[in-house]
C-alpha cells in the first residue's frame, strides 16, 4: 500500500467533506429554485392566458351584443327594406371590430315575390362595400351559417374559415336567429351575421412571448388551429390531426380537454426529439375556442442553470483555495515533524551532538520540538553519566579482580608442597565463588617437627570478607610460635580480631599442629564445621566440635585444645561449608551424608586424590548451577617417620 503523509490525508478528508457540502447545497438550491421558477412560469402563463382570453372575450362579446341587438330589432315587423339596409350599414360603420354584417331573411319572407333578401355590408380598402347575397348559384339559406342557428334556435359562432372572396383572410362569423310573430305564432324570420377578421387575433397572440421561444395558439371549437406560429397549421390542421401525425395520445387527450373548455397545466411528452415543454391551456368564454400557451422547460430553467453554473464555479474556486490552504497548513505542521523525525533517526544512530532543527512555532509541534530538545539533553547527560559510571564500575571490578588475585595469591598453591618430606602428604584446593569470598587455608612448619595446617571461613562476602580473611591469615602465621597450642593461637588471634571489630565480622577456624615424627596431633576449633578423620583402612568419622564460638566476636574467649594421634596412612580432611552446602539447580544441598558416603567408599585414600574426587563429585552434583560460596578443602595425610634417616 502506498504511504500517504498527513498533508495528503488531511486534504483528502477536508476536501471530501467540503465537496459533499457544496454538492448538497447546490443540489438543494437547484431543486428549490427550479420549483419556484416552475411555479412562477405557471402563474405567468396563466396570467398571460387569462389576459389574452379576456381581451378576446371582450371583443367577441362586443360583436355578439351588436349582432344580438340587431337580431332583436329585426323582430319589429314595421321595418322597411330601407330601414334594414340603413341599419345594417350604420352598425358596421360604428363597430370597427366587425368586418362584415349580413341580415338574411327567410325566402319570400319580407317580400312574397322575392326569394332572396340578404343585404351584406363589409369593409373593403377603408370603405364600406355592399352586396345583396343570394342568387341561384349562392342559395344562402342552405349555407351552414344560416342553417345551424336556424336548426339550433340559438346564436352560434361558425368555425373559422378562409374568406376567399374577401381578400383571403380568416374569418369567423357570429350568427343570431331572429323571429317574428305571425298570426300569434313565433316564426323563424332569418339570421343576423357578424363577421370578424381573425387577423387581429393572430397579431395579438403572436405578440405573446414566453421566455425565448415560448408561444401561444388558439384552437377552434373543433380543435382547428386558428392561430399558430407555424402558419401552415392555421385552418389546415387540428390538434387531433397533429396528435395523429406525432402519434401522441397525450396531445389527443389535451386536445379533447381543450375543446371541452377545460383548464390545465401539463408537461408535454417528448415527441420528435423536441425538448421538454410545458403547456397551459384554458377555454374561452365565447366561440368555444381554447387558448394554449406553450413554453420550453429548458429556457424556463435557463436562469436556474446559469445560477447553478455560477455557484458551481464559485464552489470550485473555493474548493481550490481551500485545498491550497489545507496543503499549506498541513505542510507547515508536517515539515517540522519531518525534520524532527530525521533528526531523531540521526540521534538514534548515536549522533547526540546533532543540532536540532529550529522550530519556534508556539503550538503542539513547538512543544514536541521542545520536549525533543529536553530529551536530547537528558539523553546526553544520561549517557555521559552512564559512561562515567560504567568506567567507574569497570575500574572497581578490575580492582576487585586484582584484589581477588592478591587474596588468592597469599594462599600456598604449589603442590606437592613439600616434595622432600615423606612423613606426610598435604593437599588443598580453593574454588572461589564469583564474588570475592572469605575462605582461607594455610600450612607451614612451626619448627622442624611441628607442622601447622588450618582452614577458615570468614562470614559474608565481598571486599570486607576478603580483608578480614587476609588479616586473619596474616595474624595466624605471625602468632603461631614454637610451643604454642592451637587453642592458644586461636585465643590470641581472636583477641586481636575482636578488639577492633565494629562490623561484627567473624571467622570460623580449624587449626591443627601435628608432630610429624609421632603423629600426635593437637587441634582447636572456633565454630568451624567438623573435619573428617579417615583412619587408614577404617571408617571415616567426624571429629566432634567443642561448641566453642567463632573467632572475632568475643575478645575474652578462651579456646581449648584437644589431642589425637594419627597413624601412618590416616587422613584428616578439613573443609568449609561451601562443600556440604554446594547447591544444584533445584537448590538441594550437597549434604554431609553425600560427603561421608563418598569418603567411606573411597578405595586406597590418598590426600590429593581425596580432594580431587570430592571436587569432581561436587561439580557433577551442581549440574552447572552457579556456585554461591567458596569451596575450600584440605587433606592432611600422615605417613609416619621416615625410616631412611
Amino acid at each position: 500500500m502506498k504511504r500517504h503523509g498527513i498533508a495528503f490525508k488531511l486534504a483528502l478528508l477536508i476536501l471530501s467533506c467540503a465537496f459533499i457540502i457544496v454538492a448538497v447545497i447546490m443540489g438543494y438550491n437547484y431543486y428549490y429554485s427550479r420549483g419556484i421558477i416552475l411555479q412562477q412560469a405557471q402563474t405567468n402563463a396563466k396570467s398571460v392566458a387569462h389576459e389574452t382570453t379576456s381581451r378576446i372575450d371582450s371583443v367577441l362579446s362586443g360583436v355578439q351584443k351588436v349582432a344580438n341587438n340587431i337580431a332583436l330589432s329585426m323582430e319589429d315587423a314595421s321595418l322597411t327594406k330601407e330601414d334594414i339596409l340603413e341599419l345594417n350599414k350604420r352598425v358596421l360603420a360604428n363597430n370597427p371590430e366587425i368586418y362584415g354584417m349580413a341580415i338574411a331573411f327567410e325566402p319570400y319572407f319580407l317580400e312574397s315575390d322575392k326569394l332572396y333578401f340578404a343585404p351584406y355590408h363589409y369593409r373593403s380598402g377603408g370603405r364600406i362595400g355592399f352586396s345583396m347575397l343570394g342568387d341561384p348559384a349562392y342559395r344562402y339559406f342552405y349555407m351552414d351559417w344560416y342553417q345551424v342557428p336556424k336548426e339550433l334556435e340559438r346564436a352560434v359562432w361558425t368555425e373559422p374559415y378562409n374568406d376567399e372572396g374577401g381578400g383571403n383572410i380568416i374569418m369567423a362569423t357570429y350568427t343570431v336567429p331572429f323571429y317574428r310573430t305571425m298570426d300569434g305564432k313565433k316564426v323563424f324570420a332569418g339570421v343576423v351575421t357578424a363577421d370578424i377578421s381573425l387577423e387581429w387575433l393572430e397579431d395579438m397572440i403572436s405578440d405573446i412571448k414566453l421566455f425565448k421561444t415560448g408561444y401561444a395558439f388558439l384552437l377552434s371549437r373543433h380543435g382547428t388551429f386558428i392561430t399558430h406560429p407555424t402558419r401552415d397549421y392555421i385552418m389546415n390542421e387540428t390538434i387531433f390531426s397533429l396528435a395523429e401525425e406525432l402519434g401522441s395520445s397525450q396531445l389527443r387527450e389535451i386536445g379533447r380537454k381543450m375543446v371541452e373548455g377545460d383548464r390545465g397545466f401539463t408537461q408535454l411528452d417528448k415527441t420528435r426529439g423536441a425538448e421538454d415543454r410545458y403547456l397551459y391551456y384554458t377555454g374561452l368564454e365565447y366561440g368555444g375556442w381554447a387558448l394554449g400557451v406553450l413554453f420550453p422547460k429548458g429556457e424556463m430553467l435557463a436562469d436556474v442553470h446559469r445560477l447553478s453554473w455560477i455557484m458551481g464555479l464559485i464552489g470550485l474556486c473555493g474548493f481550490f483555495v481551500l485545498a491550497l490552504v489545507i496543503i499549506y497548513i498541513a505542510r507547515r505542521i508536517t515539515h517540522p515533524l519531518t525534520e524532527l523525525s530525521s533528526a531523531a533517526l540521526e540521534i538514534a544512530s548515536g549522533n547526540l551532538d546533532l543540532k536540532l532543527p529550529e522550530i519556534t512555532s508556539r503550538d503542539e509541534v513547538g512543544d514536541l520540538a521542545e520536549s525533543f530538545r529536553v530529551m536530547n539533553t537528558s539523553l546526553k547527560t544520561y549517557i555521559e553519566n552512564l559512561t562515567s559510571t560504567t568506567a567507574a564500575k569497570e575500574r572497581i571490578e578490575s580492582e576487585l579482580r586484582i584484589a581477588r588475585e592478591i587474596q588468592m595469591g597469599i594462599l600456598p598453591k604449589l603442590f606437592p608442597a613439600f616434595p622432600e618430606r615423606e612423613e606426610f602428604e598435604v593437599y588443598a584446593s580453593i574454588e572461589p565463588a564469583k564474588e570475592v569470598g572469605g575462605d582461607l587455608y594455610d600450612f607451614f612448619f612451626i619448627d622442624d617437627t611441628h607442622f601447622c595446617f588450618l582452614v577458615g571461613d570468614v562470614s559474608g562476602k565481598g571486599v570486607p570478607a576478603a580483608f578480614f580473611m587476609a588479616v586473619t591469615k596474616t595474624l595466624l602465621k605471625v602468632v603461631s610460635e614454637r610451643g604454642m597450642d592451637p587453642g592458644d593461637i586461636i585465643t590470641k588471634v581472636n583477641g586481636d580480631l575482636a578488639a577492633e571489630n565494629e562490623s561484627c565480622m567473624f571467622v570460623t577456624l580449624f587449626l591443627a599442629i601435628i608432630d610429624i615424627e609421632t603423629g600426635e596431633t593437637r587441634y582447636a576449633n572456633a565454630g568451624h564445621n567438623p573435619p573428617i578423620f579417615m583412619p587408614c583402612g577404617g571408617t571415616p568419622k567426624w571429629i566432634p566440635p567443642f561448641g566453642e564460638p567463632v573467632a572475632g566476636i568475643m575478645d575474652m574467649m578462651e579456646y581449648s585444645t584437644k589431642t589425637m594421634t594419627m597413624a601412618p596412612g590416616d587422613i584428616m580432611f578439613i573443609y568449609t561449608d561451601g562443600v556440604t552446602e554446594a547447591m544444584n539447580q533445584e537448590q538441594k544441598l550437597y549434604s554431609d551424608e553425600r560427603l561421608m558416603e563418598l569418603l567411606t567408599n573411597m578405595k586406597e585414600p590418598f590426600a590429593p586424590k581425596v580432594v580431587k574426587a570430592i571436587d569432581e563429585s561436587i561439580k557433577v552434583f551442581a549440574e552447572g548451577a552457579e556456585q554461591s560460596d567458596d569451596i575450600t578443602m584440605l587433606a592432611m595425610q600422615f605417613m609416619g617417620k621416615c625410616d631412611k634417616k
Partner: protein, 109 residues
Amino acid sequence: MDFTQTKNGDTLIVHVAGRLDAVTTTEFDAESQTWIADGNIKVIADLSGLEYISSAGLRSILTAAKQLKGAQGSLAFCGLSGMVEEVFSVSGFAAMFPMFATVDEALAG
C-alpha cells in the same frame, strides 16, 4: 523471607521463615532495624520455620544481637532444628545466646 511479629507483654516474638543466606540477609537486617525502631528491645526469634542459614546469616544475627545489647535489650532463640541447629551448635552461637526449645519456654526465660 517471611517475618511474622507477635507481642507478648514487652517481649516481641518474631517468627522467621525461609532461607537466611547472603542474598536474604538484607531482608533480615531491614527487619531487625524495625525492632529497635519500634521500641522492642526484648526479642525472641522463633527459627522453627528457618530452612537454611549461612555464615552471612549468622553475621546478621550477630549484628542484630549487638544492637539490641547496645539498647540494654536481649535476643533469645527458640525452635531450632536440623541444619540450623547444627550450624548454631558448630559455630558456637548456641553457647553465645540463650536457646530454648519452644516459644513458651523462651518466654518463661
